[in-house]
Symmetry: C2
DNA sequence: GATTTCGATTTTATCGTTCAACATGCCATT
DNA sequence: AATGGCATGTTGAACGATAAAATCGAAATC
């Protein structure tokens, strides 16, 4: 029975250390470590004895010490944004929850931080990584000409993005939702319900998400032959409820107003619903509205919406980031992962009166 | 000029180590450490030389190594919850953002984790603390008979709560918002606008927040002498929009319906707005509605609401938690902090037609 | 002139863990 | 009988930082 030289002392956190467990179980430090990290290397009898002592002493390995040794904090950085005024909800918090959940499954934690813009975000990511606080970061909501990928690549910060840039996107890993497919599905849904004049309420051009959603509407309309000759029923404005209400009114004031409308977000969609109610129109019968993002507000108001597979996005991103930051060199050198997922339409009363 | 024995090697994160800086500057490790943590101990000339080298090498001290040595990870744990269905918004994400922001100001980071209920939350907090991953945690939304304070106290996990339990709340640190004062302010606001029959839409009894908000309405009504003889205009139901709409309809169907209504949350308040619209009543003139929490939905819909001073809550909580987890023993032993803050009324069109 | 004081810096020890290398004993090959 | 492999354990050396003690030279004091 070997004995360690130093005497056992209580750890700072009040928890036992691996050395105390080793002494109590009459084995060496490393054997305790093996019981935890590589149980197959330890004889069953020894393992059980050590495990019993671990239980008695309430030992939990100190993660910080572990991180230092293996030089990889199981920590993922993510920038949280201030809540947008006038927006009913975003999928931002749903995404964060998913990251945390799948991160835990891979023994990783999520560290959140704030930044006033994407440039500061990139700087903070770099600092967090350099100081060894996080092993990698997740980027949210990439714009077409986002500078974050290049900055982080240059700084050697491992990252995976939700969304992608217009160019060079094959050089880094990303997961994106096919926004244009989403609005196309919405158009198909409305066409199947008999609608022919289908409008679109979107954001001003320049954002990758907004432009893709507008393109999906346009292409689907064209595919159904519904653009020919008719005036294009699309309007643009900021992503707020009041803007949605105003834009919807504008559409309804046209000489031949739409009978169905695709909104680029639930916020705009909910705003549109108000315009419909204000005019005393019957939702789902006189006019149908489809939103995007399937936020709680949509389900509360019966707004048909497009649900992004956030859970799958989160899972893929975490898996990829764990791969990138893993110690397996050949693994990390593999080609970046690029995945495009399809949203699902959740039909509600705003397009199907019965529901 | 002393020289360290080991040869300099590049750190895992790609960043330089303190040893490399020391060698490049021709000083010992400790001097570099002092330049960073106790500049006054270093002669100006030496300090400037070391600082220049730090800049040239882009050195950032490795936080993980620092945490191990000082046995206090500058990390705060916080449980994030899944987004509630049918709820337009909560202040949960605003609170998280505030925590992150003020945490950064105190050189602390926020680690988020998930849990399915408060018991699992307490267990995870304990594990996070025992493994040295966090130095303390923040609890959100305490219920009257919450078990978390006792569990964490027993486990020796430092924590500060937003909210408080019915009993034993003087034994731990908390910050709370005076919910009953909030609804009382709402009643005062409506009375000042000439309303006499003022209703209340709340949650079923049993939650500390919900009960306090109901009590505030009741006490303020009594103070204004508006309860005498009249039928009490209060109804209860789950915290969803559809519930708000239904409860509001119920109130409007009474023989002598209210002209003003205080809702326990913006979600219920927004639901109530729909009932008002459905009946063609003019909001702010025929009937006034006040919500609670000042969520983006309230500002979007012109719903007068009570704003909780979340920023102040977050700041107080972080400051207290940093004190509790600090290495200053006498500081940590001081009496717990108990602070009750007042919400503010934000007047909008739902009570003041002009706005 | 010897001693003390003090500021500036270095040396030593340590935080709690895991990696790499090396013992040891036992069994199957050769 | 020597060799190799496998299962099981142990030991020394990191990981990168900081606290505490030790050193050293110069100035101040006795």
């Amino acid at each position: 029975m070997a004995r360690e030289s130093g005497r056992a002392r209580s750890a700072a956190g009040g928890s036992a250390t691996i050395l105390q467990v080793a002494e109590a179980a009459g084995v060496s430090r490393q054997t305790v470590s093996n019981v935890i990290n590589a149980p197959h290397r330890v004889r069953q009898e020894t393992r059980e004895r050590v495990e019993r002592v671990i239980g008695e002493l309430g030992y939990h390995p100190n993660r910080v010490a572990r991180w230092l040794r293996v030089s990889s904090p199981g920590m993922i950085g993510y920038r949280i944004r201030p809540v947008a005024e006038e927006s009913v909800a975003s999928i931002h918090d749903r995404f964060l929850h998913t990251l945390a959940e799948f991160g835990e499954a891979s023994d990783h934690h999520v560290l959140v931080f704030t930044a006033s813009d994407t440039e500061e975000e990139a700087d903070r990511c770099t600092a967090l990584c350099r100081t060894g606080t996080v092993s990698g970061v997740v980027l949210y909501d990439l714009t077409p000409y986002d500078t974050r990928p290049d900055r982080l690549t240059a700084a050697g910060v491992p990252f995976v993005a939700f969304g992608r840039t217009a160019a060079g996107a094959d050089r880094y890993s990303w997961v994106d939702v096919d926004n244009s497919a989403g609005t196309a599905i919405a158009v198909d849904h409305l066409v199947a319900a008999g609608h022919r004049r289908i409008g679109f309420i979107g954001w001003p051009e320049g954002s990758s998400v907004g432009d893709a959603r507008a393109r999906g509407w346009l292409e689907a309309m064209d595919r159904h032959g519904l653009l020919a000759g008719s005036h294009r029923l699309d309007v643009r404005g900021p992503d707020t409820m009041s803007s949605g209400t105003r834009l919807m009114s504008e559409l309804l004031d046209r000489p031949s107003p739409p009978t169905g409308v695709v909104a680029a977000t639930d916020t705009l969609g909910v705003g549109a619903l108000h315009a419909v109610r204000d005019r005393g129109l019957l939702l789902g019968r006189d006019i149908a509205v489809v939103g995007f993002d399937d936020t709680p507000a949509a389900s509360a108001l019966g707004l048909t919406s497009l649900r992004q597979p956030i859970e799958e996005v989160g899972q893929l991103i975490i898996t990829e980031l764990v791969r990138l930051t893993g110690r397996d060199t050949e693994d990390a050198a593999a080609a970046p992962m690029n995945r495009l997922l399809e949203p699902d339409l959740v039909a509600r009363a705003s397009t199907v009166p019965g529901r």
